[in-house]
């Protein structure tokens, strides 16, 4: 039994909305980071769903690309968060606004 395309899309959209809400409302950098990962993977899910429905490889290619970039991003992002924590003993994003214009 195959799952219809719409299910995947709804799930992807729901995951994206959850992630986006997390980014907007949470102050803990680590949680915001996880929320961003959630958004990325919701898009990945949408990509593979379309790839399967359309019978092409384009979506899967995009997903592989996203995973690589996300992996790199994790390295940089986590390193930044660790450094911020070391400097301030806190990872509250609202306390980090030195780049105010």
């Amino acid at each position: 039994m195959t799952v219809p395309l719409a299910y995947y899309l709804v799930l992807g959209a729901a995951l994206f909305a959850i992630g986006m809400t997390g980014v907007l409302v949470r102050r803990n950098a680590l949680v915001v980071f996880m929320a961003i990962e959630l958004m990325l993977n919701s898009v990945n899910l949408t990509f593979v769903a379309f790839a399967r429905a359309l019978g092409t490889l384009d979506g899967q290619l995009a997903v592989v690309f996203t995973i690589v970039v996300a992996g790199v991003e994790v390295v940089v992002g986590l390193a930044l968060i660790v450094e911020i924590f070391r400097a301030r003993r806190s990872v509250n994003l609202d306390e980090v606004h030195l780049l105010r214009g």
């Binding site: 986006m20 907007l24 915001v32 994003l93 606004h97 030195l98 105010r100 214009g101």
Partner: protein, 621 residues
């Protein structure tokens, strides 16, 4: 061997690079020796090029330069008899003057810089005379102007020297603007800047265009060659070291205008252009000679003399005698460089005194210098058999022929002015010689003759001033004129003289005029007398009205215009516009920076809002 000709300008350029980079670190006489040696090599290369000249003009492209659409200009050299004669004069006289400079600049702390400039000048001048197209020629033209500026103002801590350098630069700029306009006109109308192609096409072009282009280029020549009305910078240029006056402001750079006209002679061979060239030349020759009569600075006398003799060369060009003009250019380079070097030796001995009222009696202590000056003076005055006689005589003869061949009233006047100039020339140079070398020594002076490194170059030039006439003497076969004939035959082919030969008439006349001038000069100024000469003397002192015109009217007006442009226009309009643009950017940025709060989550919200807006636009559309 023939390949050596292409390397001629590179040797002094190498000298400039070496001295410019490391000259200050070399021990004392070495910069001068190196510079002289490299110019010597360039001279040998020129000799080799002349000896192996195959009989037809040779062209060589050294490197591509500009190629834009139909426009093409390469760094290309052209070797033909005219270019070779000029290269030989530049490197030959240049070498002698470089050697003299070793002695003259021996005590100057910036001698290495001096020789670097002198080498750069030589390279630029060689580029000018060997250029194959007008644009490369223009590069050389501007570079020699730059070197002239640098060397006039070489002792720039003296206000007068710095001002003289600026003046030379500004006055030349006026001529150069016209020159550039001429080049542009030729490019748009003739479609090429190649010198040979321009000469070949001159006949086919619209005569009025040929006339305007010729006059524009000639206006450039009046700047570089210090002709009326742009002559004022050359007398002031005497503030530079004397060897510079000899090399740049007598023998080579100032002759660039003559060379330019000769190089493009088919283009200038329009009757109207020739009339302009000849008239300006003759007027300048007479004008500057009379001014020299009332000048007290020995070097400035020689400067006015140079202006006058350059006028002679343009007179020759104007009466269809370009070979005679180039011949006079050559002999003039010998004897005028000699006169300047002798004047430099006088300055050297008298601790930079150059005012003739404070000189005198130098014949006894400075025997070699005095003899050198005497030879130069006799050559300048045109006494046979000195070189100046042969070339000046040839110009007068050609002017006479031109008048006979239907030149009309103008040609007759040119001839008369030429003869009169010859007379005045003999008078003023006699005056200068009497004031400097005759009479009694100034009481507190203890002059000593210059070292051999300075006297030997003077000896060489004296020899050339005596014997240089051989190059154009009829009994010697006139090798120089014969070589140049091939260059000009295209332009002169249709103007073959058809009249009886003049025989000894002109030589006899010019001999009488020269000797008469010498006698008059001696009679006027014997025992250091200075006759007032009445209205003539006053007019000469006032440059026939040009001095009040320039210093009283034109220069103040130009200065006011410049101040207006620099103050209200540049600072008030241009600078304020620029500042306003900057101020606007600051104001806009000041408003926008409020968006940058530093809160990451706020940025994310804005991002989301933007995304929603874009998507809404897609949906609604």
């Amino acid at each position: 061997m023939a390949e050596l000709a292409w390397t001629i300008p590179l040797w002094p350029l190498l000298g400039w690079l070496l001295l410019g980079v490391a000259g200050g670190r070399l021990p004392r006489p070495l910069p001068g020796v190196l510079a002289s040696a490299l110019v010597g090599v360039a001279f040998l290369a020129s000799v080799a090029g002349a000896a192996t000249y195959p009989g037809t003009p040779q062209a060589r492209t050294l490197s591509p330069w500009i190629a834009a659409g139909a426009f093409r200009a390469d760094v290309a050299l052209l070797v033909d008899p005219l270019a070779l004669v000029m290269a030989l004069v530049v490197t030959g006289v240049g070498f002698v003057i470089h050697v003299y400079s070793i002695g003259y600049m021996a005590d100057d702390p910036r001698a290495a810089t001096y020789f670097a400039y002198l080498n750069l000048f030589t390279a630029a001048m060689l580029l000018l005379v060997l250029a194959r197209n007008l644009l490369v020629l223009f590069v050389g033209w501007e570079l020699v102007g730059l070197c002239s500026y640098l060397l006039i103002g070489f002792w720039f801590t003296r206000e007068r020297a710095a001002a003289a350098g600026r003046k030379a630069f500004v006055v030349n700029r006026i001529g150069d603007a016209a020159f550039l306009l001429g080049v542009l006109l030729l490019w748009t109308q003739a479609g090429t800047l190649d010198l040979a192609a321009l000469n070949a096409r001159a006949e086919m072009l619209d005569p009025s265009l040929v006339f305007s282009a010729g006059v524009l280029l000639f206006a450039g020549a009046t700047g570089k060659s210090a002709q009326l009305p742009l002559y004022t910078w050359l007398p002031d240029a005497m503030e530079g070291p004397t060897p510079v006056s000899a090399l740049i402001h007598a023998a080579t750079m100032v002759t660039a205008g003559v060379y330019l006209v000769a190089r493009l002679y088919p283009l200038f061979a329009h009757p109207g252009t020739l009339a302009v060239v000849g008239t300006v030349g003759a007027l300048t020759a007479l004008f500057a000679a009379t001014v020299a009569l009332r000048e007290w600075d020995l070097k400035r006398v020689l400067a006015y003399s140079t202006i006058s003799q350059l006028g002679y060369m343009f007179l020759a060009l104007g009466v269809l005698a370009p070979s005679a003009g180039i011949f006079h250019l050559t002999t003039h380079a010998f004897f005028k460089a000699l006169l300047f070097l002798a004047a430099g030796s006088v300055m050297h001995a008298m601790h930079d005194v150059i005012d003739m009222r404070r000189l005198g009696g130098l014949w006894a202590p400075l025997r070699v210098t005095a003899l050198a000056f005497l030879v130069g003076a006799l050559a300048l005055a045109g006494v046979p058999p000195f070189a100046g006689f042969v070339s000046k005589d040839l110009i007068l003869e050609r002017a006479w022929e031109h008048a006979l061949a239907g030149g009309g009233l103008v040609a007759g006047l040119l001839l008369a002015m030429g003869v009169l100039t010859a007379f005045v020339t003999a008078v003023y140079i006699t005056r200068a010689a009497l004031y400097t070398f005759a009479g009694a020594l100034p009481p507190d002076a203890h002059p000593h003759e210059a070292p051999p490194v300075m006297t030997v170059p003077m000896g060489v030039l004296a020899l050339l001033s005596v014997a240089g006439g051989v190059l154009g003497a009829r009994w010697a076969g006139a090798p120089l004129l014969a070589a140049l004939a091939a260059v000009f035959e295209g332009a002169l082919g249709h103007a073959a003289p058809a009249h009886a030969p003049l025989g000894l008439l002109v030589p006899a006349l010019s001999t009488v005029v020269a000797l008469g001038g010498l006698a008059t000069g001696w009679w006027l100024h014997r025992d250091r007398r200075e006759p007032a000469l009445g209205w003539f003397g006053r007019a000469a002192e006032q440059h026939w009205g040009l001095l009040p015109l320039y210093d009283g009217l034109l220069v103040p007006a130009a200065r006011r215009a410049a101040l207006l442009l620099a103050g209200p226009v540049d600072q008030g309009v241009v600078d304020r516009a620029v500042n306003a643009v900057g101020g606007a950017a600051v104001a806009v940025a000041g408003a926008l920076r409020r968006l940058q709060t530093g809160y990451v989550r706020q940025y994310a919200l804005l991002l989301l809002a933007g995304t929603i807006l874009v998507m809404a636009y897609w949906v609604v559309r």
